[in-house]
């Protein structure tokens, strides 16, 4: 048996885990600031993947295509915040439920998914590699045959986590964001533009979805229904890593990715079940995640 198959599978697993981490980082930043996340974040990744497809078939060079896709996703993020998040501001949490955002963002996700289906059809699509015209382009590392995008997405996720960490915990902007998270009224009184920050975090989340979408295309089958499972797994990753730190989320994502790959290798029938159950157990034992801080519910 070729000894490189297991590490090769692990890298594939890490790559998917990195995708989940990118999506979950979007959850982290919006949850931190406005206590809401975009339940259609996975569908946003799907849109980005399809947009990337379009740019490729229009023969736009990759380096131009990526910013274009990001711009498109920024617009989508803007619309989402305006339509599904802002109107819920200041809603009394008692009656409608502090969870109305689940349904409003899900509503947007349904609409977005339908639009993609109308434009691109409901079937799976081929998404070409980013930097090669050969659909089977591989990179050989230590005897393993890897797809370039796999390495790229892992590197991107790590970079993003590091940048976020520095930004949130070492820069003034990050402190502003955390101030808004802690007490929006006080932050406003201090002259921080809370409205702008609340919009900005959703834009950042959309950018993360864009990154994930651009890179995920060559790795999986791109089809309009791929979003929900991404959202679910990213939420699980966020729960595992804890919503307190971008590094925690990265760790959670990579861990989950490896667990998935390993578990599928060992038992292909129920393979995707074990990481989920393990995650649930983890959350039961350490409710705020591996790296999260528990917010005490006391007055």
């Amino acid at each position: 048996m070729e000894s490189t198959i297991v590490p090769q599978l692990m890298i594939t697993g890490l790559a998917l885990g990195a995708v989940y981490a990118l999506v979950a980082t979007g959850f982290y930043i919006t949850h931190l600031t406005v206590d809401k996340v975009n339940f259609g974040q996975g569908d946003f990744v799907m849109v980005a993947a399809f947009l990337m497809l379009s740019t490729r078939s229009a023969a736009i060079p990759v380096m131009l295509a990526i910013p274009l896709v990001m711009a498109g996703m920024l617009l989508l993020g803007l619309i989402l915040e305006r339509v599904a998040i802002r109107p819920l501001d200041g809603r009394r949490s008692s009656n409608v439920g502090a969870f109305a955002w689940i349904l409003t963002t899900a509503g947007v996700a349904f609409i977005v998914q339908n639009i993609v289906e109308l434009v691109y059809g409901k079937s799976s699509q081929y998404s070409p590699p980013l930097f090669s015209s050969d659909r089977n382009a591989l990179v050989h590392v230590f005897g393993m045959r890897l797809v370039v995008e796999e390495l790229l997405v892992i590197a991107t996720a790590m970079l993003v986590a590091a940048l976020f960490y520095l930004f949130m915990f070492r820069s003034r902007w990050g402190k502003n964001i955390r101030a808004v998270a802690y007490n929006p009224d006080a932050a406003a009184l201090l002259g921080i533009d809370t409205r702008m920050i609340k919009v900005a975090v959703f834009l950042v989340a959309s950018l993360l979805a864009a990154l994930a979408g651009v890179l995920i295309g060559p790795l999986v089958t791109v089809q309009p229904h791929m979003g929900l499972i991404l959202t679910i797994k990213a939420l699980v990753v966020a729960a595992v890593g804890g919503l307190s730190s971008p590094i925690g989320i990265l760790a959670g994502g990579l861990l989950f990715g490896i667990a998935e790959a390993g578990s599928n290798y060992v038992d292909s029938t129920f393979g995707d079940l074990y990481p989920l159950v393990a995650a649930m157990l983890l959350v039961a034992l350490k409710p705020s995640g591996l790296f999260g801080e528990r917010a005490a519910d006391v007055r």
């Binding site: 409901k122 799976s124 499972i229 292909s268």
Partner: protein, 377 residues
């Protein structure tokens, strides 16, 4: 007006009245298909519906006496919806015949309703063998099917592969349909005194089959039978594993989406169950017309052709009966003859004990050659 003119006028009026009375009886044909959800469902549903719609177009062009209107519902691959829609079509829309659906589970859920209500169901493109077998011994049986049948294509595959390959592997999906197919394959091979070298399973929504394919490679498997509904995934894994077995499987592998995603070269030589040969006669013409009509949305010739033939049969039967009478339509379907089928459906597809359009002798094997699925020699 002279008396003669009056008489002529009255006769003319009477003729008009008579033809108005008998002209254009309207019959609704119900269609339930999986039209939303993952591609594994939607590709089937939409393709079959494309065939049905083209058949309606042809029927109207040929001037069928009875006016036929399609009532199309989407069951979202959810058995609860399928059951509800079946009830709705029968009780609310009052259709005398229904065509559908994709998911075998949904068909199994719906068919007791049709049998009990005495409304004929033309099942398709669901493939599970049980569908017609469930009620075939009833007299009369209301369930027909115009689609590939699991049992037949597996039989053909086994006959072919057992003769040519020593090490055969199977990869299947962990759903009921996949497990069922896997069992049938194993039984079939046992009958030939052979055994599968490797059996691997994978979840339906999985993204990568490298792990499973690597186990095939390590066991030296020469032929991989792919019964996983992500038809393109085994191919994608091959490049990374430096492995080039022959791949064969059910009719799903004939979807044009597969070479689109993995490349024409990768599928060259892949074998699958088939009921349509587009290189010859009517089928070729049909293929071209579908391409013209639907463009790139036309992606599955064999499914579309079976949808066409299913609809043809139903429309012919409805036209013969001329009114929304489910029992009469059922009889007409069972006795229909002279069908000019696009698929391998024979001119007289059904009989009292046989409600399958495509029988064992009609199913053959196809192979990808130069970007087209042709009959395996």
């Amino acid at each position: 007006m002279t008396t003669m003119n009056k008489v002529l006028a009255s006769m003319a009026l009477a003729c008009v009245a008579a033809t108005a009375g008998t002209a254009q009886a309207q019959v609704k044909v119900g269609v339930i298909q999986g039209l939303s959800g993952p591609p594994a469902i939607v590709d089937f549903g939409e393709s079959y519906l494309q065939g049905i719609k083209l058949a309606l177009h042809d029927y109207q062009a040929k001037g069928g006496k009875t006016k036929i209107e399609l009532v199309v519902y989407d069951d979202e691959a959810n058995p609860q919806r399928a059951v509800s829609l079946a009830n709705r079509l029968i009780q609310s829309d009052k259709v005398p015949v229904v065509i559908g659906t994709v998911s075998s589970g949904n068909v199994l859920a719906m068919s007791p309703i049709f049998q009990k209500a005495g409304v004929p169901l033309m099942a398709g493109p669901a493939v599970v063998t049980q569908i017609t077998a469930q009620f075939i011994n009833e007299s009369p049986s209301y369930i027909f099917r115009c689609s590939m049948v699991n049992q037949f294509e597996i039989g053909a595959l086994i006959d072919w592969s057992a003769a040519r390959y020593k090490k055969i592997g199977l990869i299947h999906s962990t759903t009921g349909a996949g497990i069922f197919a896997a069992n049938e394959v194993q039984e079939g091979l046992k009958g030939k005194g052979m055994q599968l070298a490797v059996v691997e399973a994978a979840a339906p929504g999985v993204n990568d089959l490298s792990a499973q394919m690597s186990k095939m490679r390590d066991a030296g498997v020469e032929l991989v039978l792919n019964f996983h509904e992500s038809y393109e995934l085994p191919f994608r894994a091959l490049a990374r594993l430096n492995y080039k077995p022959v791949i064969a499987g059910p009719w799903g592998l004939s979807s044009t989406k597969v070479p689109e995603i993995v490349g024409k070269d990768a599928v060259e030589g892949t074998v699958m169950g088939q009921a349509l040969d587009v290189t010859a006669g009517r089928a070729r013409e049909f293929d071209e017309r579908m391409r013209k009509e639907y463009g790139s949305a036309y992606r599955w010739p064999v499914v579309a052709s079976l949808g066409y033939d299913a609809a043809q049969i139903v429309f012919k039967a409805v036209d013969r009966v001329g009114k929304p009478d489910p029992a009469a339509i059922r009889d007409a379907i069972e006795n229909v003859d002279g069908i000019e089928a696009m698929s391998a459906t024979p001119a007289k597809p059904f009989a009292k004990g046989d409600h399958e359009c495509v029988d064992k002798k009609d199913v053959f094997l196809g192979v990808w050659k130069g970007g087209v699925v042709t009959r395996l020699p």
